[in-house]
């Protein structure tokens, strides 16, 4: 069956080349049929790569261990849904998955735009297929998931060897979150290829107006939102599975996903300046190129062995090919950009240092510096090794010291930017817009100090959160009040209609509010406390205002694991508030048994009680070692993520058309004048 996948890959390789050639030749010869053929070939590539990945799924489900990828990442006891997620559990499969998602995006883009942008689309197809060609080459020649296990005697290959069982999937990946998290990340990464393809097509065709921006804005926002969701799901998985009490460790692989997201965030903001004022055209193309490069670079980082990471795939020669591709893409795109600079003149000028457009520039600067600092920290161990010959580690203390202040400054701008007017903000409007948020922020700061908060970063983050949160709520209040007065709607209706009538703006505010909640959650890390203890049945342990009592130990088993779990009663103020069930599992795998911790978390809006069972400490199995953490405000990270996602979805919706107004003319104009501050 693997031959079907192998044949599909080979055919996809040929058809991809045909698609590029046909599209480019079609433009040169002005032959619409060739262009259409190139487009159809792109859809055909999607069908072929789908066949390949379908074949791989079949091989996993039938446990065909003659194929080395299946033997290394699955076993017979693995539940079927994890057999499917095993597709992206290793180097070769995850690359194929990346390539497959790219062909999905390509097919959607070419079908959606088959009758639009006739000059640009053949180039868009070519760029998308060019990226696809690189990945198909990798599948075929470097990281082939359909490689058979060779049975060898000495150096002589005697045939195909099919082991009785596979090595199993890494137990840490046997988590429902791991079924969703990697696809979301990849969808986000790959989605950033679409705006890049349109930007390149716009440069080639010299159609550098707003068309490519408007066409790709939703694609970019969707990719950015999906990537952000993927990152958060990764944090959620780490928190609920890894058992070290946190959700973000500045691991190189985590950083690799954060960098394109930061660039994407910068692009989504600066693109508004181009749409509104016809400015920052060069800058926007630079951001699109960087987002694309960072997405590929992130994939390179995790696969090249350049950085040490627990999440990285095994070191392989694939890194060199990726590096060559990145250099090629970077050179070609910047050559094009420089060549087309005369077509990228600003249509307007900046009005003032204190204006909405300049706040976007500062926002971009901070996001880029944030990306740069993450890149620097990620690469520093390798750079140190190359330059000084000294092997170092760069972990949380470095990133916390360098990036947290940048993040707080970014949060500050999140509050300031929307309050500034386009072109120039007058002193009066500044006073009017900033007074209440500043007052609330100051009051919050004072209350926090009185409450005993002394951690500078946490204090700053919470004060900034109060500032930004207030400014966002105030914007909704002002807009809704003006609308309610003008239309006769009640306040709630006004909020909803206001949001639906300008989804991009108010969706953006909701996303910003999600960002505020994320910061509130992150600031909780400053107040985390933990303790380790050993306890037997009936023993208690006190941490903060909680008491934990071990009530029993019991065996557990599943389809491919056995283990123990502990029943622990959680008490607060003498009353039982929860039963917790931390445990350990030993997963069945050929050769060795792999133990993992099953974390028990009692989550509330205020704090999490996070309990890890580290294992039995006596032979009778009636006494165990535990690690307990009190993690304040973590729930707000997940809530913030949901709100951020909701804001993104709203911003993606088309604006609701205006309904006939019920506004009372005699009062409306006055009310609106009072209510609106947006210049």
């Amino acid at each position: 069956m693997g031959q079907v996948g192998q044949f599909a890959l080979a055919l996809a390789f040929v058809v991809t080349i045909y698609s590029i050639a046909s599209s480019l030749l079609g433009i040169r010869l002005r032959n619409d049929k060739l262009i259409a053929s190139g487009r159809n070939a792109a859809v055909c590539v999607f069908a072929l790569i789908t066949t390949a990945i379908g074949t791989l799924a079949y091989l996993f489900l039938t446990s065909d261990f003659a194929y080395s990828y299946i033997a290394e990442h699955s076993n017979r006891d693995l539940p079927n849904y994890f057999k499917i997620s095993s597709i992206w559990g290793g180097q070769e499969g995850s690359l194929l998955f990346w390539g497959w998602l790219l062909t999905i995006y390509t097919a959607l883009v070419v079908i959606q735009n088959r009758k639009k942008h006739t000059a640009m689309m053949p180039y868009v197809t070519s760029v998308l297929m060019g990226t696809s060609l690189f990945f198909t080459s990798m599948h075929l020649f470097v990281a082939n998931p359909f490689k058979l296990n060779a049975a060898a005697v000495g150096t002589q290959v005697m045939g195909v060897f099919s082991p009785a069982d596979g090595q199993g999937l890494n137990p840490l990946l046997q988590d429902p979150m791991m079924v969703i998290h990697p696809p979301m990340l990849y969808l986000g990464f790959v989605g950033l290829v679409v705006p890049f393809a349109f930007a390149m097509a716009a440069l080639i065709t010299r159609q550098l107006g707003d068309t490519w921006i408007r066409t790709t804005r939703r694609w970019t926002m969707a990719a950015w939102g999906i990537l952000g969701t993927g990152i958060l799901l990764g944090g959620f998985w780490a928190y609920h599975t890894l058992g070290w009490g946190g959700y973000w460790a500045w691991d190189p692989v985590e950083n690799a996903s954060l960098m394109p997201w930061l660039i994407g965030t910068a692009f989504l903001h600066s693109v508004m300046v181009q749409e509104k004022k016809g400015m920052l055209k060069v800058w926007n193309i630079v951001l699109v190129i960087m987002a694309y490069i960072m997405a590929v670079f992130g994939t390179f980082l995790t696969r090249s062995g350049v950085v040490n990471s627990v999440h990285a795939f095994a070191k392989s020669p694939i890194g060199g090919y990726f590096l060559a591709f990145i250099v090629m893409a970077l050179s070609a795109s910047f050559y094009l950009l420089i060549d087309r600079l005369p077509y990228l003149k600003n249509e307007d000028q900046m009005g003032s240092v204190v204006s909405r457009e300049s706040s976007f520039l500062f926002n971009n600067l901070i996001l880029l510096v944030a990306c740069f600092s993450v890149l620097l920290g990620t690469m520093l161990p390798s750079l140190s090794d190359w330059i000084t010959g000294n092997k170092i580690t760069v972990s949380k203390p470095f990133f916390d010291a360098v990036d947290v202040p940048i993040a707080i400054f970014l949060l500050f701008l999140t509050g300031v930017g929307p309050l500034l007017a386009w072109r120039k903000a007058s002193t009066n409007s500044l006073k009017r817009n900033f007074m209440i948020p500043i007052a609330v922020a100051c009051a919050t700061g004072g209350v926090l100090l009185i409450m005993g908060v002394r951690h500078f970063y946490a204090w700053s983050a919470l004060v900034m959160s109060a500032f930004v949160g207030t400014s966002i709520i105030r914007e909704f209040y002002k807009g809704a009040r003006a609308r309610a007065t003008g239309t006769g709607e009640n306040f709630f209706e006004s909020v909803v209609n206001l949001t639906l009538r300008n989804t991009r703006r108010y969706g953006g505010y909701i996303a910003h509010f999600g960002f505020v909640l994320l910061f509130i959650g992150w600031s909780g890390q400053a107040f985390t406390s933990d303790s380790e203890f050993e306890a037997g049945i009936g023993d208690t342990f006190q941490i903060h205002n909680f008491t934990l009592r071990v009530d029993g130990f019991e065996p557990v088993s599943g389809q491919n694991y056995t283990g123990d779990r502990v029943v622990v009663g959680l008490y607060k103020g003498g009353a039982k508030v929860a039963n917790m069930f931390p445990g350990r599992r030993n997963y069945k795998g050929t050769g060795e048994q792999q133990a993992t911790s099953e974390i028990a978390i009692r989550e509330t809006l205020l704090e999490d009680v996070y309990l890890v069972f580290q294992g039995g400490v006596d032979d009778a199995g009636k006494r165990g070692a535990f690690h307990v953490y009190i993690n304040p405000l973590v729930a707000w990270v997940w809530i913030g993520g949901v709100v951020l996602g909701l804001g993104t979805i709203i911003a993606l919706l088309p604006n609701k058309k205006a309904a006939p107004s019920r506004r009372k003319k005699e009062h409306g104009a006055e009310a609106i004048q009072e209510g609106t501050t947006v210049a």
Binding site: L242, W244, A249, I366, C442, R584, V612, G668, T676
Partner: protein, 161 residues
């Protein structure tokens, strides 16, 4: 709220009081073992700081943490503890690069320098542009001709970006 703001006094007091309270801030007193341990790495390959390695019966973090406790109990300063660990496990045991030597100091400061330089250049750029923009000439048109347009816009009011 408007009169409260307009009065300005309470507002000013809030701002002033907060500014006066800020010096109270500082790094929270934390458990020293946890603090020192958070600047060291577990060397088992988990890529986690020593205090966060959660490997069950980890062959590295368990003895390393015992060693840390022992050194702190012996009265060693933080720097002495770090030096002892670097001596035994190599520079990779530190969770962050040292703040010494041109290469590492540059690494620590580079992002901040880029941010400040970028911000200064941006302000200069914006000011230059501002001075280059000609001031608009006084309106020579009758503003009443826009009344209808304004009225229509207010009628369909939705705040714009």
């Amino acid at each position: 709220m408007r009169s409260f703001i307009a009065g300005g006094r309470v507002y000013n007091w809030i701002v002033l009081a907060t500014l006066l309270l800020i010096p109270l801030l500082g790094q929270a007193d934390t458990d020293r073992e946890k603090f020192v341990g958070s600047h060291l790495m577990c060397i088992c390959g988990c890529q986690q700081v020593l205090t966060e390695c959660n490997h069950i019966h980890c062959p590295s973090s368990v003895p390393m943490r015992a060693e840390l406790k022992e050194k702190l109990a012996a009265g060693l300063s933080d720097d002495q503890v770090y030096a002892a660990f670097v001596g035994k496990y190599g520079t990779k045991v530190m969770a962050a690069p040292p703040f010494k030597g041109a290469f590492y100091i540059t690494s620590w400061l580079l992002s901040g320098v880029v941010l400040i330089t970028g911000a200064v250049l941006l302000v200069l750029y914006l000011r230059r542009l501002k001075s280059a923009v000609p001031k608009p000439a006084p309106a020579a048109v009758d503003p009443s001709k826009f009344d209808k347009e304004i009225e229509d816009e207010l009628h369909n009011f939705t705040p714009e970006d």
